[in-house]
């Protein structure tokens, strides 16, 4: 008990929990900021191009959901940028000159995104159809660029570069080397694909639930197929990118990789463990495939994989079992999502429809949750695997944390804040959905009277 109190008083635990909790929530909202506009624009494009009233209705409704989630994402992003300073003055004060540059670039993209979001969301009536569609395109583009900038900042923490330290202070900076650090080439695409999977599969899941409840109209089928197609395309690419990322980590951050794969001793012919818990030199409850880990790292059983015995205990990542299980879980879910996407692809190719069996629909309804889980597990691998460093090999976490008291209070407040934000993101679209289904609400008329495209009557016809 006293030791626990000491750990709390130490300061890094509450600060790390707060940062972890904030990031863990924010990243879900961020996914919608990055990827959801593209999904909305696809529906919108179909609606305009083919005069498809149902697609247009979907786009219009999704844009309302987008408004809510974007507001939440903007707030939570602000909370995070403040927290960087409030919790980690040691990081910002010493490395802000380098670390801040990608964030400044993100500032531009976020700004452009916010402006065009304002125009797109409130421009349904005031702009001509195609001008309105084009006003949405910058949102999707800046979402990608912004994700690139922020993830580049994180990958800089994993592979810091582009600066010279003299007496613990940065004396010169090479902005290009900071922005294009060596970890960004795989972290950035990995995260962007994850964002596309999360946003699209969560959206598709809503309509899969509708179909499970017997709502098989075109509105639900289209609402499922558009986002699910996006997720199904992203999933296999993601597996490919993830494979490259793991190999890069093996060479750039061997300690993290050792924890991910439970490699305790450096050597060749290393076994790949699926699941399993490491205890006193043995792995229990895991499926071990001999030599596979070496093959995955260097395409040959004779490849040497560095184990965690290569570093002194105080510089090894804590909790290798957590890191390993998180990694295995992420890979497992990702693979399952590829299979699910391929199933829908097969049925669509030959029958042009959505599989009607519950064996497909139940996993499809849960696919978004699975994608979120996989992404969170991935972040656990990245962040816990980087410990005890905040900036890999340069700044220890205990040196970065704030000396200000009261972090426990802000931790509690932050948790409440994020729970409320998550609640908003779930409850508000749910309320909207309920309202859209309900007859007799005057706002429904307004919702269905799409500003351009076919008249209301046709929408009714198609839906029924």
């Amino acid at each position: 008990m006293t030791s626990y109190a000491l750990v709390l008083a130490d300061g890094t635990v509450p600060a790390r929990s707060q940062m972890g909790a904030s990031l863990g929530f924010h990243i879900i909202f961020a996914c919608f900021g990055i990827a959801f506009p593209a999904v909305v624009l696809i529906a919108h494009w179909l609606g305009l191009r083919r005069g498809d009233a149902v697609a247009l209705l979907l786009a219009r409704r999704w844009s309302k959901v987008m408004a809510v989630i974007f507001a939440v994402g903007a707030v939570s992003g602000t909370v995070l940028s403040y927290e960087l300073g409030l919790l980690w003055p040691g990081l910002m004060g010493r490395f802000g000159a380098a670390f801040g540059i990608p964030f400044s670039i993100e500032g531009i993209w976020f700004f452009v995104e916010a402006i065009f979001t304002g125009i797109y969301l409130y421009g349904w009536r005031g702009l001509s159809p195609w001008l309105h569609w084009w006003s949405g395109v910058p949102i999707a583009v800046t979402g990608l660029l912004g994700a690139w900038a922020v993830v580049a900042a994180n990958s800089w923490m994993n592979q810091p570069g582009g600066f010279t330290l003299t007496d613990g202070r940065i004396t010169s900076v090479d902005p290009w080397a900071v922005i294009f650090n060596s970890a960004s080439s795989y972290e950035v695409p990995h995260m962007i694909l994850a964002a596309y999977m999360v946003a699209s599969l969560l959206t598709a899941g809503v309509y899969a639930v509708g179909m499970l409840r017997g709502r098989w109209d075109r509105y639900h089928r289209l609402g499922f197929l558009i986002p699910f197609a996006v997720g199904a395309v992203a999933a296999p690419i993601q597996v490919f990118v993830g494979d490259i990322a793991a190999r890069m980590i093996a060479s750039q951050q061997p300690q993290k990789f050792a924890a991910m794969e439970l490699v305790d001793r450096t050597g060749t012919n290393v076994t790949e463990w699926l699941g399993g818990i490491y205890w006193n030199g043995q792995v229990y409850f895991g499926v071990g495939i001999p030599d596979l880990d070496s093959i995955l790292v260097g395409f040959s059983p004779n490849t040497t994989v560095i184990g965690w015995d290569a570093a002194p205990p105080e510089l090894r990542p804590p909790l290798p079992n957590l890191i390993h299980l998180a990694f295995t879980g992420m890979v497992g879910i990702g693979t399952a999502l590829v299979v699910l996407g391929a199933w829908q692809g097969w049925v669509w190719w030959f029958h042009r429809r959505v599989p009607r069996t519950r064996w497909f629909l139940v996993p499809a309804a849960l696919s978004g949750v699975g994608a979120v889980l996989a992404m969170e597990l991935g972040w656990i691998v990245t962040e816990v695997g980087r410990q005890p460093w905040t900036v890999y090999g340069v700044l220890l976490t205990r040196d970065a944390v704030t000396p200000a008291g009261g972090v426990i209070i802000t931790l509690a407040v932050t948790l409440v804040i994020y729970l409320v934000l998550t609640g908003v993101c779930i409850v508000v679209p749910w309320l909207m959905g309920r309202r859209w289904r309900a007859e007799g609400d005057p706002r429904l008329v307004e919702d269905q009277a799409t500003p351009y495209g076919p008249p209301v009557e046709r929408v009714r016809e198609v839906r029924s």
């Binding site: 409030l86 801040g100 005031g126």
Partner: protein, 393 residues
């Protein structure tokens, strides 16, 4: 050794971003404050709808200026950023809470189904519009008075609870209300609502007078609490102070004369000149008395990177920002007329949900205002007493 040109340039960019935040997001905060003071549901329905229509499409874009300020500060002046964030942990966390509640209000506002939910939501939104500028004001006040040490070992409570800092907080609230009301007058003119135009004119004048009084009090307090900043304010920075005063008064005259464009320009100039005057008064200190621009700045490559970012921002951000405002000013950005009129209809005519007794929301509004004013007053009294005690001791 005088600061390098790129350092001066980045500092100017920083202050431009601060001024822009004050002018745009400040006006949105001001809208929230007038929402708070708009009175009962029935009476306040029309002004609330006007505020809503003016603020909703643009607030997110405006909010981003704060992110800009933050990233410039931490990239170009990392030690100052770390010092401010550590010493002023509490007010910054509180202003952040305000920003959070406000965003939440926007997200929920149009979806809150029942009236009491809408009211709670409106109360949250309005209270947060007070909180955020007030605590940000205390932060600026603390920095300007030189109360932030260069390497604080923890929070410095006295830094932002000094009378000067608290009055600066009040000044920020009043200024937001002022600039918000000025813009709302112009917006009402655009929407051809003479009633609302008069409504916000009175409020603009009142807020302008209050801002002026608070600014004068602040200047007097500064004379004692931060002689350095005061001397420079009445010395080299005096022209900017004069510009601000003249422009502020001119804006009030222009409100009466109904000259919309000039009025907005004058009010904006008044605010921008205050920000510039503050910056110039602090020069060459970043944290007066403890950290100079020179000592607190990042290596020159980072500064150049920030300037490049500012250049990119001019290219990428300004045209769409101008388009956004053009569309908003020409009434091309709207939610949906029906839900708007539904809101009005619900609020003004039948009100089947609410009993005839006075709405509970007043109490929430008043409670929040009272608590804020009371805490401000007690703090001031406490400070005065403490000062006297220390003088005796």
């Amino acid at each position: 050794m005088s600061p390098s040109p790129e350092l001066i340039a980045v500092t100017v960019v920083l202050f431009v971003a601060i001024a822009a935040y004050a002018l745009f997001a400040g006006a949105d905060f001001g809208g929230g404050i007038w929402d708070l003071l708009a009175g009962s549901t029935r009476r306040g329905a029309v002004p609330r709808a006007a505020i809503d229509a003016s603020v909703t499409p643009v607030w997110e874009g405006n909010h981003v200026w704060s992110i800009f300020v933050l990233v410039i500060l931490w990239t170009a002046f990392p030690p100052a950023f770390a010092a401010i964030m550590t010493a002023l942990f509490a007010p910054i966390a509180l202003s952040l809470l305000g920003i959070f509640l406000r965003g939440l209000g926007f997200a929920f506002r149009h979806e809150a189904e029942r009236l009491h939910m809408q009211r709670l939501n409106g109360a949250l939104f309005a209270a947060s519009s007070l909180m955020a500028p007030f605590f940000l004001g205390t932060v600026i006040g603390a920095v300007a008075t030189g109360a932030v040490p260069a390497a604080p070992s923890g929070q410095v409570l006295s830094a932002w609870t000094s009378p000067t800092a608290l009055v600066t907080g009040g000044l920020f609230v009043a200024t937001c209300a002022y600039i918000g009301a000025i813009y709302l007058v112009a917006d009402s003119e655009q929407r051809k609502q003479p009633e609302m135009m008069r409504y916000f004119s009175y409020r603009a004048i009142a807020a302008g007078v209050v801002s002026g009084v608070l600014a004068a009090v602040n200047l007097l307090l500064m004379r004692a609490s931060s002689p350095y900043t005061f001397d420079r304010l009445v010395g080299p920075a005096l022209p900017l102070v004069v510009v601000s005063v003249v422009a502020g008064i001119a804006a009030l005259v222009l409100v009466v004369l109904r000259r919309m464009h000039l009025m907005r320009i004058a009010a904006g100039l008044a605010v921008a000149a205050v920000v510039a005057g503050w910056g110039w008064a602090q020069y060459p200190w970043l944290l007066p008395g403890s950290l100079t621009l020179q000592a607190g700045s990042a290596p020159s490559a980072s500064l150049w990177a920030e300037l490049a970012v500012a250049g990119l921002a001019v290219v990428f951000v300004l045209p769409p920002f101008a388009w956004l405002y053009w569309l908003q000013q020409h009434g091309r950005l709207q939610e949906s007329e029906i839900s708007e009129s539904l809101r009005l209809a619900r609020a003004t005519t039948s009100e089947p949900v609410v009993p005839a007794s006075p709405a509970p929301v007043h109490h929430e509004h008043r409670l929040v205002t009272t608590v804020l004013i009371a805490s401000l007053a007690t703090e001031l009294v406490r400070q005065v007493l403490e000062r006297r005690r220390s003088r005796r001791g």
